[in-house]
Symmetry: C2
Subunit: 230 residues, 2 copies
């Protein structure tokens, strides 16, 4: 038995089945989808194993137990995120050091929110990841601290700094954080509540037309935050 429960993959394999790493990734992909859709306690390990095309004990072998798999998913999300969206956040963070004028800040804010919307509405995989994170922020599971510390809190803080910048301030106040939370939360209507949103908008899916519609809504809301007439 390779002790894989706490952190790492069972070491660089020089023996055993060749597809070990592929199995690991298949399990994580299936788990992300299942946990994102059904939550930690409702998603079952059998369900995940079947979706991944492996037998049940493969999960225990690679991740120790259900919670280990859940944590592995969280770490995977964080890693993917840093390889995917960190560039924009970093750029905005650097730009903010120079205390840019309000219109630059509101442009950044618009860009970040649009990017976030597409992250939510995008392909199945990204949607699952966003679902996973959003769910964890609500129903504090075992991965809460990881995702809060490494994704949610930094994301809200950057957004809050942009909100403050929109109003010509450099220091972030609690009101900015409240607005940042509300901005991000407003986009969750199209992630978490995608089906309901589609039903209300009377559309079969979030196509380009729907995204444009929502982009326009983002623009108006950001205008309000920035105190500007559209």
């Amino acid at each position: 038995m390779a002790e894989a429960s706490t952190q790492e993959a069972p070491a660089a394999s020089r023996q055993g089945y060749a597809k070990s790493e592929a199995t690991r990734e298949a399990i994580i992909a299936a788990a992300l989808s299942a946990f994102g859709r059904y939550g930690y306690s409702t998603a079952t390990t059998r369900q995940i194993a079947e979706a991944a095309g492996v037998a049940l004990p493969a999960i225990a072998y690679h991740f120790g137990n259900k919670e280990g798999l859940y944590l592995a998913c969280a770490r995977d999300i964080v890693a993917r995120y840093y390889a995917q969206a960190a560039d924009l956040a970093l750029e905005a963070g650097l730009a903010l050091e120079a205390a840019p004028p309000p219109d630059v800040c509101s442009d950044y804010l618009r860009h970040i929110l649009r990017r976030l919307l597409r992250l939510f509405a995008q392909d199945e995989a990204s949607g699952s990841q966003a679902d996973f994170v959003a769910r964890e922020m609500r129903d504090r599971g075992p991965a809460f601290q990881i995702l809060y510390d490494q994704l949610w809190a930094p994301g809200v803080e950057i957004t809050a700094r942009l909100v403050a910048g929109c109003q010509g301030r450099k220091a972030v106040q609690d009101g900015d954080r409240a607005e940042a939370l509300m901005l991000i939360s407003s986009l969750l209507a199209f992630n978490t509540g995608r089906d309901v949103a589609l039903q209300i908008l009377g559309r079969p899916n979030l196509d380009a037309g729907a995204l444009n519609l929502i982009d326009a809504a983002i623009d108006r809301i950001v205008d309000g935050v920035a105190g500007r007439t559209s």
Copy 2:
């Protein structure tokens, strides 16, 4: 056995234990809290029975089964809502018939959103109800259709009509519905995500000061929707 599974309470009791109705209400209260906090499949009937101070089979007796209890909770929420918040919605609906000027519409919008915020942030009971509804809108459980048809869709539509009115239009467009969804969803940050919001705002609870902070954020966002400089 009184067949109570599908709809009604076991008829006006003229025999049997006197506290029957009180038991029923205690179970519903406990169930609302448990379902709101943990969701349909994670909340257990034993947990609910214990919290209600009754034995397990009391649930089956009064509500048929777990799903029956869940549906009874949903109907209870709808009933409470109509007795509680329908006045404001009705008033706004009536006022809208007269195609009021934008500033009147945005005032209504502000009032409704503030009321909604307090509904979310209020006492334990109201919070549980809001949790229940929000959860059902995401994780379509057995009560989805009831709550969608009787609460969510009408609420979004009224909000969308106010958004349209803010922009001087009487006819509701899809963009208005998108904005309405986002406005409501933004408030969910303080219901669904209450703990995270408190942590980010660095406050122990949603007291008057916090509410004022959020009210100000609502004002700015509504200003944006109305296309008005604050």
